[in-house]
Symmetry: D5
């Protein structure tokens, strides 16, 4: 089941570089692990923003929330989830 | 799987009473049929508005969209879906 | 009498873990106590957000505000209350 | 129990004068009847708008919705209800 | 002359308790003094929020601003003023 | 007492030219009459919009609403009133 | 180059069924033709709404606008385009 | 002096084709005439929308409003003007 | 040429009183100097807010930005500029 | 390919002057370097705001994001990108 997820990151500009780099490294590792599992099939950068638009393919909403709330950047993100359904004109 | 659904109805005030009553009667019949199926466990009126807040319990997002887009009032409604997950403090 | 309550939690990311865990533990204990009383019949997580959607069943608005303003997380939450009425199509 | 109710009226400018006058006359009569009952203690015009801000004193949300949805102008209004509680600094 | 005033309080959660209690005590004293003068005839809590909705009865807008900007919580509040007029259907 | 009033005009583009011209002519005549009375000291066009920003100098909010609701374009306008007070830095 | 496109359809509910069906049939045919060309790789329904979220893969913004403005439903749609870039954590 | 102007066109979809084409042809002719005069140096289409973003170079705000309100599509447009100044980093 | 300028001041409540008083004193002095020059003909307080609505009469947008960005409170303000034109009904 | 980019700068007012000046100097140098390359053909100040409106001319969205995210002020900016296409009435 697909969900459209828009994430805006709001990392405090005065966070020490070491701490920021550590969070970002852990975010990247976790994001790639979930992508490899097939549950995060699309991940795009929004041009001009520290933000992404993603598509998740999960068994249910609990799994979706479990993944999103485990993201190392979760405490710094504003996340909006949109439930997707099959479009009748989609091939 | 639960979804929170907020529906605002915007029926044109100048719709002939007969047509409006017919749509509303079919809406009510359909809504009660879905409620009886267990897929629409909660349906509340928003005080002061021609609107409702509902909880749907469906197998997936396709089933959810199938039900919502079959509502006789669907062409007159603004519907917002919010995906719900289990809350860790819920009993 | 039912009220729909949407709560968004905005805990500062730099709050010391011990303090945050203490508030969350007290929040959970209080939330479960109110649920057991029957005054908080539904509590759902909004997928992807540190937020919940709840239904309260209270005697009046004073009781509702009394409960909400006693939540340990109250100073960190943005809360929106919507008054609900019986829906004529509800079973 | 008190509720704050904001009503915006959106009567189509091209509604025939006779029809508009009839609705407004019935609205006024009904509004004054409810005021006399004590359930609508305050009714103010918002300066510059075809809108009002009101306070209702009702037994519960069903009574509130029953009154509001019976207003002759209800199909032409956008109504927002805010639940009020006793303020600790109010005399 | 009546004005509708909506106040949202945004006290920093990390303000020392002593300082917060002092401001709140002074706010309460001042609010009750203005109420006793007849210039603040209504003061209600918005259920679920650290906010109030008030009605002020003042000689003019300068008096209104004078009172509001003297509130001890003024630097921490977002205040919206709406000018009220007599409603033709009000008793 | 001064009020800032922003008016947006939403005349239906398909209103017959004769009717539109008649309303506009009456609007202009009435606006100039009120300006001559001293109660509408400033009237500016918002560049690029069928809108104006005005300052009214009236005895009270009832007088303000009386003038605004008498404007021939009133049924076609969205009007926002802002109460002004003397600024401590104004000469 | 990828663009995220959100389309909301606002077909007048009183459009004759024959006309609506004709537009929808042409929309579907055109949408599938563009999908087959590889320029519209993803098309999802937003659950509960007559809306879709799409990904377009086009040579440039002129091609994108050319496709979108050729959609038979274009005059009835509110379309928002978001430029996407490669995400550094995407596999 | 430069102004940034964003125009959204809201032509009723049911306007007869002949009328719509006539307005669009007159709009195009007028727009090109103003461009040739040097007062409308930039005109871009917003991808996916019946909208444009323009830069005007005019003597003053009266000239700007004079041009914009003379556009044949003016009654069907929502126009937002933003005043521009020289940027200290611009070459 | 006239511009409508709305300024909201957001001074941090925890700014030391001495620093705040210094900025406010310099703001007042500068504002009065510009008023005396004739370029800031109107300055009103928005009732209930640390905000003002002003009219500036300047040669061009560069002069306007030069004045506004020189205000001692500029780094703490949210400023919205609206270009004004002569209103055809203004006397 | 052209993109319209609106940037709002939100530099903390309490950032040490030396640090702020350093960022601004690096921002200016980088902005002028990109302008010289031809990829940033227009850069205007929004009157009254610490903001700009820019036009970028880039090969694709990756290049656009690469430039924007390299701006020294990027962590302090809110950036909105709008894809532009050729306007059929543009000369």
């Amino acid at each position: 089941m697909l969900f459209h997820v828009a994430m805006e990151v709001r990392l405090p500009p005065d966070m020490p570089a070491e701490q920021a780099n550590d969070i970002k490294a852990r975010e990247k590792a976790f994001a790639q692990e979930v992508q490899r599992s097939g549950k995060w099939p699309h991940l795009w950068r929004v041009a001009g923003r520290y933000a992404n638009i993603s598509i998740f393919d999960v068994a249910d909403t609990d799994e979706l929330h479990g993944i999103l709330s485990s993201l190392p950047l979760f405490p710094y993100m504003d996340i909006k989830v949109t439930a997707l359904a099959k479009h009748p004109s989609a091939l």
